[in-house]
Symmetry: C2
Subunit: 172 residues, 2 copies
DNA sequence: GGGGTTCGGTGACTTGGTCACCGTGGCCGG
DNA sequence: CCGGCCACGGTGACCAAGTCACCGAACCCC
């Protein structure tokens, strides 16, 4: 109903990858998966904000899937969305350069404004990379005059450059 | 019913990643996703063998999901399985060393026997890496006396070494 | 204001991916 | 049988990214 939950894959070494976020209105497929298929899963969820949510007992869920076409569609859409999201995530991880991904993520996180409140470590986790890589890449962005930095803060002052880089994704 | 379909993510540059295989008895979630949620997807499927399969019209599918608990569970299990598979794939790609992954894949592909029929290129695609990396890594394996190579063929002659390396996954 | 903690910067090194190029073996047509 | 093409594999040089180690500076909280 409200809030955001971050789902991450944890590794033994301390590095994590952000798999996706569950937002208000979404259904958490993992919970569903676990409930319906009795499978364990290894990922970890963290509430990023205060969260209000609805928990549905297995029996009720099953019943609703059986009876309501609307609910059925909702559930299947949630699954499909996750799967296609994971596909594009894999695609990004394997084929996309870090600077492109970082630029894109900054623009995304900034939204309408032009400030991103996040530590390099957090950005690294977002993208499944190491803090050092983020630091270096942001350093490069700064040298190009695209951003300004302060502790825990990135200010976007040259969006055009970032946007050009982020868009260069599909260009080969 | 019969055969295997390989699902891969294609990139512009020619490198591909193997996402998963659909085997006899499985349901192809992507088709389901596409059918139910009207979403497009970017992956590509290739029949590795001759394939016999059943196509179910949307209406029938919907009806079966509504009426049969067994079918419902089958479908949800398929989804869950895919999602957890994708999770472990991402985990592997991000955190696992190539030599470990290659060793594991060789053992997997060899099964009971000790021969793997595959070109370096094919193995590279399996693991989402480049042919050169496979060539080099196999070269290293050969130097260690774990494998012998011929054109399009890898013979496992030192399984213990490979197994030790492959198992070193969860350590540290 | 002092001390611990978090954050960020940096250099050195390793691994993996890319590019370019070449040799070799196999296959096929002539 | 021979020549040429092509798929396969090997290799060196280079670049991008991840890892390790360490340090200084900002921040927070007494």
């Amino acid at each position: 109903l409200e809030g955001t939950v971050l789902v991450q894959q944890k590794s033994e070494t301390g590095r994590d990858v952000t798999l996706y976020r569950v937002n208000a209105g979404d259904s958490c497929v993992l919970t569903t998966a676990c409930m319906l298929a009795f499978e364990d899963y290894a990922a970890e969820g963290t509430a990023e904000t205060d969260v209000r949510a609805v928990a549905i007992p297995r029996r009720t869920f099953d019943d609703m899937v059986a009876r309501s076409p609307v609910f059925r569609e909702f559930v299947f859409k949630a699954y499909s969305r996750r799967i296609t999201d994971l596909f594009t995530l894999i695609d990004d991880i394997v084929f996309q350069r870090m600077d492109v991904r970082l630029a894109a993520r900054l623009l995304e996180l900034a939204g309408e404004g032009d400030e991103v409140r996040a530590t390099h470590q957090a950005l690294g986790t977002e993208l499944g990379t190491a803090r050092e890589v983020v630091s270096r890449t942001l350093g490069e962005f700064q040298r190009r005059g695209w951003i300004e930095q302060a502790r825990g803060l990135v200010r976007l002052v040259g969006r055009p450059g970032l946007e050009r880089l982020a868009r260069s994704a599909g260009e080969i």
